[in-house]
């Protein structure tokens, strides 16, 4: 299968005054099309930094990042903005929807910046809203929706431009367990039925088990990279057990 993401010895080094902090210490990994990968790790393990680099919000200090075969590691800010717009979708812990902007307009947002909002896009938006059960809320404002509904709006926005990669940063961090499961089911469906490649960052092993591959980071390095055991098997993956405390 085609590689969506290919990282080659990625380093990210921050200069904090006189001290150099190595957030990512030569990470290499590939993510194939249609994968559902969970990235886990304690805080400070480098998972946020990895997410920022995967999401083209930040550039690596060293190493190469191929997104759909294109080396984006040395792209300019504007080129990165274009990549984020066309190839990436983001789902955040705190939803990050524009308040005082309707659900529909929030979903349309990426398309406004890609300067196209054609008939086909309208149909696609309708279809996505229908799939995620947001049709009836399209004129509502985010603060009129529940947390789960808001996160579904964010997911709709993330997939509206048909991205190569969907990045979910603690998407259930602000949700109760029932709603968390609901959101995870949505992501699972997108992965299963629409073939969307997903990278999920979480520190909850309950959430990580929804993924089919779990990467655990520690001190900026990959500690383990294992296929996830399905929840049906009733046992946690070893890596998750390792982190379970």
């Amino acid at each position: 299968m085609q590689d969506i993401v290919s990282l080659e010895t990625i380093y990210k080094i921050y200069q904090m005054g006189d001290v150099q902090v190595t957030a990512l210490n030569g990470i290499s990994m590939t993510i194939k099309k249609g994968e559902f990968v969970a990235v886990m790790g304690a805080s400070g393990s480098g998972k946020s930094t990895l997410m920022n680099i995967l999401g083209c919000l930040d550039r690596p200090s060293k190493g190469k990042y191929y997104l759909e075969g294109v080396d984006v590691s040395q792209f300019s800010k504007n080129e990165l903005a274009d990549i984020r717009n066309k190839k990436l979708g983001f789902v955040f812990q705190s939803f990050n929807l524009l308040s005082r902007t309707t659900v529909l307009e929030n979903i349309e947002l990426p398309l406004i910046y890609s300067k196209k909002l054609s008939r086909i896009d309208r149909d696609r938006i309708d279809q996505i809203m229908a799939t995620l059960g947001l049709m009836e809320f399209q004129r509502h404002y985010p603060n009129q929706l529940s947390g789960g509904q808001q996160q579904r709006v964010a997911i709709a926005r993330a997939i509206v431009s048909n991205p190569a990669l969907l990045l979910a940063d603690e998407p259930t961090g602000n949700l109760d367990s029932v709603t968390s499961t609901e959101v995870m089911n949505v992501l699972n469906d997108l992965n299963h039925n629409m073939g969307i490649t997903i990278v999920l960052v979480t520190h909850e092993s309950d959430i990580a088990k929804h993924a089919r591959r779990v990467v655990v980071l520690k001190d900026g390095e990959v500690l383990s990279d294992t296929p996830s055991l399905s929840s049906a098997s009733g046992s946690y993956p070893p890596s998750a057990t390792f982190l379970h405390h």
Partner: protein, 402 residues
Amino acid sequence: MPALFKIALRAILRNKMRSSLTILGIVIGVGAVITMVSIGQGAKVMVEKQLESLGTNVLIIIPISTAHTAARGTAGTITLTAEDAFAIEKECSAVSYVSPGIRTTTQVVFGNLNWTTSVSGVGADYHIIRNWPMESGRFINQQDVNIMAKICVLGQTVVTNLFGTLDPIDKWIRVNNVPFKVIGVLSAKGESPTGQDQDDVVLMPYTTVQRKIMGVTYIGVTLASSVSAEARFEAIEQITSLLRQRHRLRPNEENDFTVISQVEFASTIMETSHTMTVLLGSIASVSLIVGGIGIMNIMLVSTTERTREIGIRMAVGAREKDILFQFLTEATVLSSIGGVVGIILGVVLSKMISYYGEWPSLLSPLSVAVAFLFSNMVGIFFGYYPARKASRLNPIDALRYE
């Protein structure tokens, strides 16, 4: 672009109170500029009109030296005589007419009405020099001057105050208990550049004023006209050298008289009114700049408040340029709304001032266009820094901003 415009408009409507206060700064600035400039322009046009009515070849001969004016004052000056005036008329080739003048302020009486006005003794050519047509009757002629006739010609203001709607021709008015027959009425002349009512005057032969009213032999401020507007400098020179000769002034002595051209006199006033326009305009511009700083202030607050929004937009693919345009559009929309409202305010204000203050105002489309353009430029200028600051944000930091 339409999408960006919509975003900007929505952001403005989101904080109605804040936006209106910001706009108010620009409204006051643009309104003030429009009002001040139109009043200044009006004054300029008024002075220009008066300058035309004065005549471009009028020369004024004042029987005192400008150097001594302040020290000596005007009283008791007897340096100029009617003979000087005749000599100028006869010997100066660049001079076409001379009207000896003598003036006093006194009470004139008609029936039981009285009016304090300027009684001005003039020569027979006075109305030609001043280019002042008659409304009715005739002007003073040389015969009247020679016989010191007890006649007079009235200005419009005097007619209004003494006669009302009566026809003053052939009526008698009394000055110092001496009766004078009204032989003519001058047409309305309006205000002089210095703001005096030129129609508030009673004209008589200068000989009559000298002998019958004042009992003096000298003459005062005398008018002359050069043969053409271009010849006025030559005429001034001729008059000066003739009078120096007649007054037997030694080369090291100063003139005991002053000759000035009406044009130069008026253009000084023109300059003053121009300076006033510039001054008023620049004071008003300061308020426009203050308004601009208001926009900058609000935009800075707004971009800080909306850091997270900027982060979200960047995450979904907004480029630096998109963010820059968004906030620049917002600032420009604010300032151009202020510009439009300010123009309306300025138009209304200048109309009101010219109506109630009886001050002419001239609203040129150019000044309106310039004010609008300027308000937009203020928006772009003061909106650029906050907008650029917003566009340069790091998306990661912006997304994390609480």
